[in-house]
């Protein structure tokens, strides 16, 4: 189908078309890229909320509860949930829907599962593309759930407007190890499963770390004890999200984030193009007999060989 037709049907809010366009950009096909190039200007910038945290802390269950609130509040809500691909087989089990029963109760909710496909930052390399399609569709709010992360998978910070870091009462000691990493990217911190022992102590500990890290002028991130399973304090979380959204818009923080995001996106695309062109040159160098030529020297040689024409060719092949 022609991309003009796809766009037309997307504007008519056709779900089947939305899903198909997302597949095109998820696979980074030429049609998908052409679609984004042409219709980027038609997007409505939605508020993007990232949900991240270690595996098994209850991110999907929390998203399920947020769906219920936000579906009633906004015209259209989208969820993007990323699960890891196996580095060995390339396959993936995308199981976030298992805990998202509320998806099926609302017609104004669109949910998509995505495999990380070798990307290491907790998202997939196509995530930004997919979010752009959802914005062209005209969704109001997007929840982005990352792969269960450890310490340094921080891509979600660059791609969303607000980040919720989810931990559990037992996170205590490991928070120490996350100090440089996910503890630095949260705008809101959640201690989920707080019906269990130690929730209070853990949230106090998080607060003390945040106080040390937060500079005077910055907003101290709220720390909330939640039990998603029992629907405890979910309304409080929703309230904090709305408060911060308002503050971020008023202070121009969102605008700044979006500018940085666009820069990064351009850098990523360029890097991708360069790497492809380098790979091509590497094949030539691989055949060289001289074992003692240093990696730096090879790099300089390759760099001199890359010309704009070859980059352009690679782009068209994509």
């Amino acid at each position: 189908m022609h991309i003009e037709n796809l766009f037309q049907k997307l504007k008519e809010k056709d779900r089947v078309t939305l899903a198909k366009i997302i597949t095109l950009v998820d696979n980074e096909t030429p049609e998908g890229i052409e679609f984004l190039k042409r219709y980027y200007k038609e997007r409505k910038e939605s508020f993007r909320v990232g949900i991240t945290g270690p595996p098994g802390v209850g991110k999907s269950t929390l998203v399920n509860k947020l769906v219920e609130r936000f579906a009633r509040k906004y015209n259209h809500l989208s969820i993007l949930a990323v699960d890891p691909s196996s580095p060995f087989t390339g396959g993936a089990i995308l199981g976030d829907r298992l805990r998202m029963e509320n998806l099926y109760r609302f017609d104004n909710v669109y949910m998509r599962s995505v495999a990380s496909r070798g990307s290491l930052g907790g998202l997939s390399s196509s995530t930004e593309n997919i979010l752009q399609v959802l914005e062209i569709f005209g969704t109001d709010l997007i929840l982005v759930e990352t792969v269960g992360v450890g310490q340094s998978e921080l891509d979600v910070m660059e791609i969303t407007d607000l980040v919720i870091v989810v931990l559990v009462p037992e996170s205590g000691d490991s928070i120490q190890a996350m100090k440089a990493g996910i503890m630095e990217i949260g705008d809101i911190f959640i201690v989920n499963k707080s019906d269990r022992d130690g929730a209070e102590k853990t949230s106090e500990y998080i607060k003390s770390i945040l106080q040390m890290k937060t500079k005077d002028k910055e907003i101290l991130p709220p720390v909330i004890n939640v039990s998603a399973k029992d629907d405890q304090n979910i309304d409080k979380l929703v309230e904090e999200i709305e408060n911060l959204k308002k503050t971020f818009i008023e202070n121009g923080i969102i605008e700044r984030k979006r500018k940085i995001r666009k820069n990064k996106e351009v850098r990523d695309i360029l890097r991708d193009m360069f790497i492809k062109s380098i790979d091509r040159e590497l094949k030539i160098i691989e055949n060289t007999k001289d074992k003692d030529i240093s990696p730096y020297e090879i790099s300089e040689k390759i760099f001199k060989k890359i010309d704009l024409k070859s980059l352009e060719d690679i782009w068209k092949e994509k």
């Binding site: 696979n27 691909s85 829907r97 998509r112």
Partner: protein, 134 residues
């Protein structure tokens, strides 16, 4: 980039025996496919909504409750109504041979009975994908 085969594995109906569905889901994932697993008690409506939103290539249903003559045709009908009958519907479970033949006549893909090997399912899907989606 090589396009991945995307499959929805769902367990409709009221019985709670999801071992088979889980084995298939992980076998397909091990074969390099992206598998959406939705768990127990899925209605045909939910299954089709998920298939459409996730834009999957195939939907595999595991049915052990005896409700196959109701559920398969219903899913097929809903896919058609949404103009997505290009999605392959296949499945497995305890399904008598006559019923299998009847379902396949209606347009359901291959149905795998007890004793089937996971590699048969993988080969079937890869073959279908090669013929229909490339």
């Amino acid at each position: 980039m090589e396009r991945k085969i995307k499959v929805l594995v769902a367990k409709p109906g009221l019985d709670g025996h999801d071992r088979g569905a889980k084995v298939i889901a992980s076998a397909l994932s091990d074969a390099g496919m992206e598998v959406i697993y939705t768990g127990l008690h899925q209605t045909p409506e939910k299954i089709v909504k998920t298939a459409i939103d996730e834009d999957v290539d195939a939907v595999g249903l595991s049915i052990l409750s005896g409700a196959h003559m109701t559920i398969f045709p219903k899913v097929l009908k809903l896919l058609k109504e949404n103009k997505r009958d290009d999605i392959l519907l296949f499945g497995g479970g305890i399904i008598p041979k006559e019923d299998m033949e009847e379902l396949e006549k209606m347009g359901v893909g291959k149905l795998f009975g007890p004793g089937s090997q996971t590699k048969e399912v993988i080969e079937y899907l890869k073959d279908w994908f090669e013929k229909n989606r490339k």
